[in-house]
Amino acid sequence: MLAAFTGWVIIGRVPAILHTPLMSGSNFVHGIVVVGGLFALLNASTITEQIIGFLAVLLGAGNAAGGYAVTERMLRMFKASGNKDTSSK
């Protein structure tokens, strides 16, 4: 509940300009599910559990890494007019 409230408060103050990175950022944050997948896989004792656990880690890792990659790319593009950086096109 506390966490839910915190999430609400944090997002409530974010300017609309950052909504897309925020969405992919929060998308990245729930990539933490990979940790749950790791627990499940390490504890697996049957083939079924191993297969599903493997899938869980695979998907979770994809969620986390992909979410991080796109969010970071987007956020790095935001620049104030003061510093004209030409490294990104």
């Binding site: 966490a3 915190t6 999430g7 609400w8 997002i11 409530g12 300017p15 609309a16 300009i17 950052l18 909504h19 897309t20 990175p21 925020l22 969405m23 950022g25 929060s26 998308n27 990245f28 944050v29 990539g31 933490i32 599910v33 990979v34 940790v35 749950g36 997948g37 627990f39 499940a40 896989l41 390490l42 504890n43 697996a44 004792s45 049957t46 079924t48 559990e49 599903i52 656990g53 899938l55 869980a56 880690v57 695979l58 998907l59 890792a61 994809g62 992909g66 979410g67 991080y68 990659a69 796109v70 970071e72 790319r73 987007m74 956020l75 620049k79 007019s81 003061g82 030409t86 096109k89």
Partner: protein, 483 residues
């Protein structure tokens, strides 16, 4: 074991990770600190993943003999999943961002569903409440997986048709009902109840997932392309919720906190978006848009007035204030760079140029901001609807590029219009309006735009990229003639 050192380290690092997530998200709330925010959250993720491996000496005795295989599997899955996603995330075009987010989001939902499946298959009775929570997490995760995949397919154009069958809602409700009944059955049987001879627990779990996945497909298929951003946002919240629920089952604080934060944040984001589009969330999910597009053509006064791109460009050169309203059409034409080049020319000539972004410009909220940022437009030139709307009345020229419904004054004046009440950018109040458009077609909502017929509005027909090139040339040759 009285003092369990690895356990303490794991729990401590998970709390640290959870804290880093919150801190990172908070930093993301301002463009100045945003890019450090994602780094902080990334560190949190690394800490949590590494800590999970400390768990190795703690696995249950039944899993002990499989440990080596399991560790190998875990490393392969981590490397493979992270590698592929990282590579695709670095490569994807900014315009394709919404479908990429949908895809990653579906993966997260799938992972949450898979964890629930392991819990249900592997462990017996854990009490009624954890069982219910597991099943609930499984349901939400599975719906989020298949729903996100459909959303991804629709956004990337693999599925183009919007499938609607009669009695869809009743059918969806039926599928949902079956899924819930199966979920209830699983909880009862796993809690020590007797399984029906026709339906073993494992079969019930498998069926349950099939129906949950099917429901996600059914729920997403009838939703039109314009509403997809809202849908992705909902699934984002769903995945967060599923992760949070599984975190509760696994008693993992990092999962619980992160999941709940994303769940709440996603919900709020969804509501914000729906409000910007003047639709309620249930309206997006359960009704079909565009059925009431009958507008009396006779209501429209005035005519369409075409103008040459070069003339419009020169007019802007001699204006003192210009506001540019970009829409998705700009991104389709890949003309952001050209636009910024034109803006720099105007600025060099002493024109005050600003960008006005409608909350739903682009294909997800804030998408247009990202696309402009990619072209190098500084974010302090970009203004949101509520910050700039009053300035249109004192602006010389408003330039609308590839946007349509979001500047339609009918939303303010015409009560019969389906978009009536939607917040719009008041470009019609500017002294002169130029609209860059490919043709005379209608926008997403399929409504005639009365702005185009207004006396102060002139149309520049053509591809946004080509039009901007002409404008740039016109302004350049003007400057050249003077010197």
């Amino acid at each position: 074991m009285l003092l369990n050192i690895p356990q303490i380290i794991i729990e401590a690092s998970e709390l640290v990770a959870a804290f880093l997530f919150l801190f990172g998200l908070k930093r993301m709330s301002s463009p100045v600190t945003a890019s450090s925010g994602i780094t902080v959250a990334g560190i949190g993720m690394l800490v949590a993943v590494l800590a999970a491996f400390l768990y190795i000496p703690e696995v249950s005795s039944s899993a002990q003999p499989h440990l080596a295989v399991n560790i190998a599997l875990a490393l392969i899955a981590l490397g493979l999943g992270a590698g592929i996603a990282w590579w695709s995330g670095k490569k994807v075009a900014m315009t394709a961002m919404p479908e990429m987010v949908a895809l990653y989001n579906g993966m997260g939902g799938g992972a949450a569903g898979a964890i629930a499946a392991v819990e249900l298959f592997g462990h017996g009775d854990r009490g009624v409440i954890p069982l219910i929570v597991t099943v609930l997490g499984a349901l939400i995760g599975a719906v989020s997986l298949s729903g996100s995949l459909i959303a991804w397919a629709k956004l990337s154009g693999i599925i183009k048709k919007t499938l609607r069958i009669t009695g869809q809602q009743a059918f969806n409700a039926l599928v949902m009902l079956i899924t819930i009944v199966l979920g209830g059955y699983i909880v009862t049987v796993a809690h020590g109840g007797d399984a029906l001879p026709q339906l073993s627990l494992h079969a019930a779990i498998a069926l349950f997932f099939c129906f949950a996945l099917f429901f996600g497909v059914l729920m997403t298929l009838p939703i039109g392309g314009a509403d997809m951003p809202v849908v992705i946002s909902i699934y984002n919240a769903f995945t967060g919720l599923a992760v949070g629920l599984e975190g509760y089952v696994l008693q993992n604080p990092a999962l619980m906190v992160a999941g709940m934060v994303v769940g709440a944040a996603g919900l709020l984001l969804t509501l914000l978006m729906a409000k910007a589009m003047n639709r309620s969330v249930s309206n997006v999910l359960f009704s079909n848009f565009g059925a009431t597009g009958d507008q009396k053509e006779g209501d429209i006064k005035g005519s369409l007035k075409p103008v040459e791109a070069s003339d419009a460009g020169i007019a802007m050169r001699y204006a003192s204030t210009v506001i540019i309203v970009p829409g998705y059409g700009l991104a389709v034409a890949q003309a952001q760079q050209k636009l910024f080049e034109f803006v720099k020319l105007l600025q060099a000539a002493g024109v005050q140029v600003r960008f006005a972004i409608h909350p739903v410009a682009g294909r997800m909220p804030g998408h247009m901001d990202v696309l402009l940022a990619e072209a190098g437009v500084p974010y302090d030139l970009i203004f949101q609807l509520e910050d700039i709307n009053e300035d249109f009345a004192s602006t010389d020229v408003a330039l609308v590029i590839g946007a349509n419904d979001v500047v339609n004054p009918a939303a303010r004046t015409d009560k019969s219009s389906p978009i009536y009440g939607m917040p719009i950018l008041n470009v019609d109040m500017a002294h002169q309006v130029y609209v860059v458009k490919r043709g005379e077609g209608k926008g997403y909502a399929g409504i005639v735009n009365t702005l185009f017929y207004a006396d102060n509005c002139e149309m520049v027909y053509g591809d946004a990229q080509a039009v901007l090139v002409k404008m740039i040339e016109a302004v350049r040759s003007l400057a050249g003639a003077k010197h």
